[in-house]
Amino acid sequence: MASESEARGAILSSIRSALRAPAEHDDGARQAEYEGLPRGYKRAATLQGEALLALFTHRLIEYDAGVARVPRAQIADAVARLLGKRGLKRIAIADDLPAEWLPCGFQFEKASAFGAQQLDELEGALTGCAVAIAETGTIVLQNAAAQGPRSLSLVPDYHLCVVFAAQVVETVPECFARLDATAALPTTFISGPSATADIEMTRIKGVHGPRFLDVLMVE
């Protein structure tokens, strides 16, 4: 549209004139200014091992998420136990979810190609994650290994997420350092079940996203 390119030019020139910016950009100066921005905040971990996992567990529980810890060999057993406890049978998974995570006796649907309507008929979703942040009790999902498209962990009412101890970092900046290489992928930060405090500031679990979130922490 002609008027749109006209608008683009007009907005950019209005910005330049307000900033009294020179016609030529000085990329070097801008770069140097950016590099010089204050970065005095905490960017590295102070906790490790058990203390780190304990903080992550504590923060998840504060958000009303469930947490279970198992060794790697027992993932499938733990999945069976957690799903069984809630009586869930039909579970959405990403196409490339490791087969050894899946117990017998459940109906796991490779749901990446499912429409929202079909997903809505499933009872839960089982995914991995890309990274997890202990300080904020956050799991981060990307459209990558074992995680599938964003709708998977959104439409069904229950989400079970497998987190390996090595995926847990302490701080938000460490998380961004890990995500930097895959920043272009669709990414979702999930901190506890869906919630709102819109009515009288009372926190209610589960408005539109999954009402229940369990995290299976694998050592």
Partner: protein, 494 residues
């Protein structure tokens, strides 16, 4: 550039609107409760971070840098968003933005759209415009849904319906969702909204959103939310249109490591809000097949011109300044009669309107500075308020009415008196004689006449002393001695 247009702006000024709202005790109770709760939560999670001040400095630096090079970063964002399969549009004003969005929706022959809470769409009056063209916009944020179904206006930009309590919400839902049996527990109300909206998420093919951040480096868009309604809108439909103010761009992906720490803690008092979504363009097999970003100026670019004013655009819309403001605490958001309420609204609104609307808003503050202290990107709101008050006065002085107005003449007279020691001294003597008719027995002036009466409406004014300090000093110098009894007597009167 044409004059910016904005929706639902009324001609009433802040004091008039506030006066009416102060009489609504239910509203004041609801606002007070909500702001108290958020503030307590915010203070708790902010105190947890020993590096909070360093995060504020970093956030302020990132936002100020982005604004100082806004043309560059917008062009970089456009290039990278386009490369990732997104389509970028530019809108100078509300009319252009409305036209672009309407055109996109009509191209897909959609009669309904789902919406994520977005201040920019309020700003351009999008819902009303779509309705006029036969398109129904469904708000999906719980609070926005309450506001929309209640035919109301938002009063806060993080919790827009905080002025309604559960009984009021129930009444709206019972009526609008035809649920006569609905209970008033927040759980019941949420469940009703879940059922009401889920059908729409699964059916409607076009969504409209705002955005919290645009990342220049890779063309990413970031949306922060709690309920999952945002995720529904930006992953399930075929087409997503995001309307975003031009100031929302940040240089790099990793800058989010600062802002995604300070925003949730400031906005809702959570360490992290339940959901943050970050995506670039379109991704095969995941989310919309078509993604549009509409970059909205609508009065923003001229704000960059002055250093004091420019910082206004650093805002990341956390609303911490609303929650902490003693004025907002009393009046709630509607008194500001603008999309953006509270201290940030008091500086943003008049500037977006080139100082032609909302001119009473820079005065809607006691300048206590609490807003500056909590601001996660360190906008010195009191400084901007004073700067804008100066502009209002300058504007007034350009009109004949303003020039001959009481305040201008009074201030000019005061300036004339204060410029010269002799004039000041003369004025003091005149005052000492003249005040006799208004000073009460207790030595206070309890009621000033005419235009000055406002000052004594809520406070008493101390009478001028029998002898001014300057007279006492002159006397002391001329007598060549230490303070005398008369001088002490003179001072006793003060």
């Amino acid at each position: 550039m044409s004059a910016p247009e904005h929706s639902h702006f009324s001609s009433r000024n802040f004091p008039e609107a506030a006066k009416e709202l102060l009489a609504d005790s239910q509203l004041r109770k609801n606002v007070r409760h909500a702001t108290d709760v958020i503030q307590a939560k915010r203070n708790r999670v902010v105190a947890e971070l020993p590096d909070w001040e360093a995060l504020r400095d970093a956030g302020s630096g990132i936002r100020a840098h982005a604004l100082a090079h806004l043309d560059h970063y917008l062009a970089e964002f456009e290039q990278n968003c386009t490369r990732a399969g997104g389509q970028v549009h530019w809108a100078r004003d509300a009319a252009e933005a409305n036209r672009i969005i309407l055109g996109l929706i009509q191209r897909h022959e959609a009669k309904e759209v789902i919406k994520i809470k977005t201040m920019t769409s309020e700003e351009i009056g999008l819902n009303g415009n779509l309705e006029a063209h036969g398109i129904r916009a469904h708000e999906t944020d719980l609070a926005e849904l309450i506001v929309q179904l209640g035919h109301d206006k938002p009063s806060h930009f993080v919790v827009p319906a905080l002025h309604k309590n559960r009984q009021q919400v129930r009444a709206i839902f019972q009526r609008e969702m035809h649920l006569p049996e609905l209970g008033d527990k927040p759980e019941d109300l949420c469940a009703a909204a879940r059922t009401y909206l889920r059908e729409k998420y699964l059916r409607i093919k076009v969504a409209v959103s705002g955005a919290n951040f645009l990342v220049a480096e890779n063309g990413a868009v970031c949306i922060v939310e709690s309920e999952g309604n945002g995720r529904m809108c930006l992953t399930l439909p075929d087409v997503l249109i995001s309307l975003v103010g031009i100031e929302k761009v940040i240089p790099r992906f990793r800058d989010l490591e600062v802002l995604l720490q300070t925003l949730p803690r400031s906005a809702t008092g959570e360490r992290m809000n339940p959901y943050n979504s970050i995506w670039t363009g379109v991704h095969a097999g995941d989310g919309p097949k078509e993604f549009h970003v509409v970059l909205l100026d609508n009065g923003r670019s001229p704000i960059l011109a002055e250093a004091e004013a420019r910082q206004t655009l650093k805002c990341i819309r956390c609303a911490a300044c609303l929650n902490v403001c003693p004025v907002y605490h009393q009046t709630g958001g509607h008194a500001y009669e603008s999309v953006y309420a509270g201290p940030i609204g008091a500086i943003l609104t008049p500037q977006l309107h080139s100082m032609e609307e909302g001119r009473s808003l820079p005065y809607a503050s006691s300048l206590c500075g609490a807003c500056y202290e909590v601001c996660p990107v360190k906008i010195n709101i009191p400084e901007v308020l004073i700067h804008l008050r100066g502009k209002v006065v300058e504007q007034d002085q350009k009109t004949l009415g303003g020039k001959l107005g009481f305040w201008n003449i009074g201030m000019q007279a005061a300036a004339f008196v204060f410029e010269s020691a002799n004039r000041l001294s003369m004025a003091q003597h005149l005052g000492q004689m003249g005040q006799k008719v208004v000073v009460s027995k207790n030595g206070f002036i309890e009621r000033l006449p005419l235009m000055l009466s406002g000052w004594t409406q809520t406070r008493d004014l101390k009478a001028l002393p029998a002898q001014s300090f300057r007279d006492w000093w002159a006397q002391r110098e001329s007598s060549g001695s230490r303070p005398t009894n008369t001088a002490k007597e003179g001072r006793r009167g003060e």
